[in-house]
């Protein structure tokens, strides 16, 4: 199980860091991932894109990616883009871990 915090923004300038970190754990054999947004300011379209492509890669390996602790701003971005239908989004990190 890997839990990753996104600190600050998840945008075009830094999205590769998150991608690399998750892919390393995936290669190392982890299959259950939670990305937690408690400390995230905003996300742009390329940040959303990274989440979509990570989710796809993890699913291809039989794993699952869950998201947690999206504030109201971030939730709006997922709703506008309909990506809220693609991810399991938990209110808190603990709820994301429950029964994982």
């Amino acid at each position: 199980m890997t839990v990753v915090d996104v600190e600050g923004q998840l945008i075009v300038g830094n999205r590769q860091e998150l991608k690399q970190k998750v892919l390393e754990h995936l290669e190392a054999g982890d299959r259950k991932f939670v990305i937690d947004f408690s400390n995230t300011g905003y996300i742009d379209s390329s940040g959303l894109g990274v989440l979509v492509s990570l989710s796809k890669k993890i699913r291809e390996q039989g794993g699952e990616l869950r998201l947690s602790s999206l504030n109201e701003d971030l939730r709006t971005l997922f709703e506008l883009t309909k990506l809220d239908t693609l991810f399991r989004i938990a209110d808190t990190r603990d709820q994301a871990l429950e029964g994982f």
């Binding site: 905003y42 742009d44 390329s46 701003d73 883009t81 693609l86």
Partner: protein, 149 residues
């Protein structure tokens, strides 16, 4: 029955408490200011999209090319114009990323988000300059703009 208030303070009669009480109230009001919301999310994300498109597609990552940003603060609106040194594109040809067949694609949400979050988005004919307008009216909903796709 008391009416509902967003914030209630009970202060002792001590004039040294006034400054802090006033700061506290003003900070709380600021947080609920829908203008602040729209600057924080809508404008910030919209401008980020415009800048990254200008750098990635317009200027094709070429570090010798530059991006120009012009911001105008009008009464009740903020306009940001972003110009790159590329040859442009046709913004009408960009597909809707919320259609089921596009939902699993990693890219293609930048223009869509700009159009959703800003009140006006328009490109020059060439397509290397985008103008974003954010309206600051008290009646604007805090999170989504008026321009839909």
């Amino acid at each position: 029955m008391e009416p509902d208030h967003d914030l209630v303070l009970e202060l002792p009669t001590d004039i040294r408490t006034i400054e802090h009480a006033v700061e506290y109230v003003v900070d709380r009001c600021r947080q609920c200011d829908s203008h602040a919301d729209r600057l924080r999310l809508n404008f910030r994300v919209g401008l980020t999209e415009a800048l990254s498109n200008a750098m990635l597609y317009g200027n094709g990552h070429d570090p010798s090319k530059r991006v120009r940003v012009e911001v105008t603060l009008g009464p009740g609106e903020i306009t940001a114009r972003v110009t790159d040194q590329g040859s442009g594109f046709n913004p009408h040809a960009v597909p809707d990323p919320t259609r089921p067949e596009n939902l699993l694609k990693a890219g293609g949400r930048g223009l869509f988000l700009m159009r959703q979050l800003l009140d006006e988005v328009w490109y020059n004919d060439q397509g290397n300059q985008v103008t974003l307008v954010l309206r600051l009216e008290p009646t604007s909903p805090p999170l989504s703009g008026g321009a839909r796709a």
